[in-house]
Subunit: 365 residues, 2 copies
C-alpha cells in the first residue's frame, strides 16, 4: 500500500557532513508538514539501523542509536532491494566519499531511488559511470542531485545547469576550487604584506584542520581536478577522467614516496625555495600566484595549477579559505557571473545536500 | 480531455525582456521533447494572439504575427478564465512591469495557473498582495517564481530561499542592486583614477541606455527599495512597502518638479558640488562612495542610500554595471556568500525567467 504524501530517506555515512545533514534533516522534517519525511535506513561503514517493515528510525538522537546498533550494513545491492521495495518514494543520501557507493548509483537510480550526494567520486570518475548514472535517471525518472560535489553549499552546479539549460553558451569557467589551496595561497602570497614560508603555511593549515590528514592529498591537485571534471562535463565536454588533463602537483617529486604525512611535513622545508621562487616571479610581474582550475570550453582545454593574477583580480583578493568561481558566457559578456564564499565545512556542505533534497521533494512528492 | 505531457505557455508582454524570452522559449522547446511546450496566448498592452480552441500559436516569427494581429487583449479576468479552462497545465509568464497584471496573480494562482515573472511589482507592493499571492499558490498547488525580480538572471532569490529553507540564519544582506547606480558610481568615484563630474556621468549613462528614459526613475532609489523589499520579505521580515524604510534619493529637492528628464539633465550640473563633497568626504577617509541597499535581519533595519567602502571591499571594486549581493549567515560566518555579475539586460533577465520556467516544468509536468 503506497503511503500518501510520505517520502522515505535513506542515509549512508554519518561523519562530519553526515552528522550536520542529520541535524538539518531533523529541522526540515519539523518545519515542513508535507511530505512527511521518514528515515528508513542509516549506515556507516560498520553499522546500520533500519527495520525490515520500514518502521521509521527516529531522527531524535539518531547518531547515538546508530553507534549503539548491533546491525552491520548489508551489501549495497541488498540495501537497494530493501529501499526499492519501500511503500513510498525513497531519496538515498550518500554522505560518504566512497567509490563503492558511487558505483552503485546506476543500479539505485534504475530501481527508482532518487539520489542526493556531496560525493565527487560518481561524477568525476570514469566517463562511462557518468553516462550510466544519467541514463539510468532519465530512464526511470528518478532524480540525482550533487550540488555539494563542487564548492559545498555554494550554488555552483545549479547555476551552471541553469546557464546551459536556458541556452547560454559558457565559454570559460575559472576559479579557486579548494578551500585548502585558497587558505595556503592567501597566506603564503597575500596581496598586502609578506606571507610566511611555504612549509610553515602548510603546517599551519594542517593544524587548523584545513587539510586532509596527509596534506599531500590536497597538494596533489586531484581534488580540484575532480571538481573541474564535473563542471567540464556539465558544460558539455566529455572529459574522460580527472587524470586526462594537465594537473600540477605541489608535492616535490622527492617527497612523493614519503611513507606518512608527518614525514612529508618534516622534509618539506628543504623545498621552500622552489615555492619562494614561484612567488618572487609573480611579484616581479606585479602579481600574486594562486592555485586555480580553468575550463576553456571552445578549445576543450581543462587545466589545474599555479597561475599569476593582478592584485585587483577577484581571485587575488580572495579571503580565508573561500572558493571563487567565475562563469564567462555569451550572455554575461566581458564581466563574468561570479560566486564566492566558503567552499568547505560540514554545515555548508550539508546545506547543499539539504537544498538538493528540497528540490527533489518538490518534484517527486 | 487532458493532454498528456503537454504544458501551455501564456505570455504577457513582448518588450525588451519579452522578445529575448520568446527566443529562449523557442530554443528550449526545440531542445526538450518533453513536456511539449505550446504557446496558447500572447499579448502586449494593445494586441493579443490566441485561439479559443487552444490551437497553439507558432513560436516561429511570433513577434511579427503579434504585431500584425487585429485582436485586442481581453480583460485580465477573462484571460485567466480562458487559461484556467485549457486542456493541460498552464504557466503564465508576465514579462511586463505592470501593477495591474501583478494584482491579478492571486486570482490566476487560485485558478491553478503557475506564474513566472521578472515583474517586481507583485512582490514589492503592499504586504497584503504578497500574502495573497503565496496563500493562493499554497492552496491551489500552483507555482510562482520570480528570480529575475532581483539581479536579473543572477541566482539571488534561489540562493536566499535555499539558505532559509535549509535552516540557515541570514543575519545581513548587503549589495549593489542597480546596474545604473553601479555604472554611475564606478565611473564617478572609481577606486583608481579621478572620475568625471556627476551630471556628466548621468548623461553618459543615459546615452549608453543604462538609465530609464527619465533618469530620475533610477536616481530616486525606488527600484533598489523594491528589490530590498523582496529580499527582506524572503528573509522573514514583514516589510510593509518599499516606502516604509529609509530610502535616500539622489534627486536634488529643487529638481523633483522638473517636467521632463531632459529639463532635469539640463539643470543637474548646478548641483554637482553636492555629490563632489560626498565623494571628497569618502576620499578623505581613504574610501569610495557607493549606492547600496542593506537588510539587517536581527534589528529588522532596511535601508537604501550612499555609504563609504574601503578600496579593497568587493563592493568598491565592482566593474561596469555589475550587481553584487552579499549574504551574511550563521553558517557562512565572517566571510559572506557573494553573487556578482550583470544584474540588468534583456538576455540575462529573460534567462532568469527561462530558468524559472524549467523549474516549474520539473514540478508540474
Amino acid at each position: 500500500m503506497a503511503a500518501v504524501n510520505q517520502v522515505y530517506i535513506a542515509v549512508i555515512g554519518a561523519g562530519g557532513v553526515g552528522k550536520c545533514f542529520l541535524n538539518q534533516l531533523q529541522g526540515l522534517a519539523s518545519r515542513r508538514p508535507s511530505p512527511k519525511l521518514s528515515l528508513c535506513y542509516i549506515s556507516t561503514s560498520r553499522k546500520a539501523l533500519y527495520n525490515v517493515d520500514y518502521t521509521p528510525v527516529s531522527l531524535e538522537g539518531v547518531t547515538e542509536s546508530l553507534a549503539a546498533s548491533t546491525q552491520a550494513p548489508p551489501p549495497l545491492p541488498q540495501v537497494i532491494d530493501y529501499l526499492a521495495a519501500a511503500p513510498a518514494k525513497v531519496v538515498l543520501i550518500d554522505n560518504t566519499s566512497s567509490q563503492d557507493v558511487a558505483d552503485a548509483y546506476p543500479l539505485a537510480l534504475s530501481r527508482g531511488l532518487s539520489i542526493v550526494t556531496p560525493n565527487k567520486k560518481a561524477f568525476s570518475g570514469s566517463y562511462k559511470l557518468w553516462q550510466d548514472i544519467f541514463t539510468a535517471a532519465a530512464t526511470s525518472g528518478a532524480k540525482v542531485y550533487h550540488e555539494s560535489s563542487v564548492g559545498a553549499g555554494l550554488p555552483v552546479i545549479s547555476t551552471l545547469k541553469d546557464l546551459v539549460e536556458t541556452g547560454d553558451k559558457v565559454t570559460k569557467i575559472e576559479g579557486v576550487f579548494s578551500g585548502t589551496m585558497s587558505f595556503l595561497f592567501n597566506s603564503f602570497a597575500p596581496t598586502e604584506g609578506q606571507g610566511g614560508k611555504w612549509s610553515e603555511e602548510v603546517k599551519k593549515a594542517k593544524a587548523l584542520g584545513y587539510t586532509e590528514p596527509d596534506p599531500r592529498d590536497d597538494l596533489n591537485g586531484l581534488d580540484v581536478a575532480r571538481k573541474l571534471t564535473i563542471l567540464a562535463r556539465l558544460a558539455g565536454l566529455p572529459v574522460e577522467s580527472p587524470t586526462s588533463f594537465p594537473v600540477q602537483s605541489l608535492i616535490p617529486k622527492e617527497l612523493e614516496a614519503c611513507s606518512s604525512g608527518d614525514e612529508f611535513l618534516d622534509k618539506l622545508p628543504a623545498f621552500d625555495q622552489q615555492m619562494e621562487d614561484t612567488k618572487a616571479a609573480a611579484e616581479k610581474a606585479g602579481k600574486v600566484v594562486r592555485f586555480v582550475g580553468s575550463i576553456d570550453v571552445a578549445t576543450q582545454q581543462v587545466k589545474v595549477g599555479l597561475e599569476q593574477f593582478d592584485h585587483s583580480h577577484p581571485i587575488a583578493s580572495l579571503k580565508g579559505s573561500d572558493n571563487i568561481i567565475s562563469f564567462y558566457t555569451e550572455r554575461y559578456g566581458s564581466n563574468p557571473l561570479i560566486i564566492q564564499g566558503a567552499g568547505a565545512g560540514g554545515e555548508v556542505t550539508a546545506m547543499g545536500v539539504t537544498g538538493d533534497l528540497i528540490k527533489v521533494l518538490s518534484q517527486i512528492a
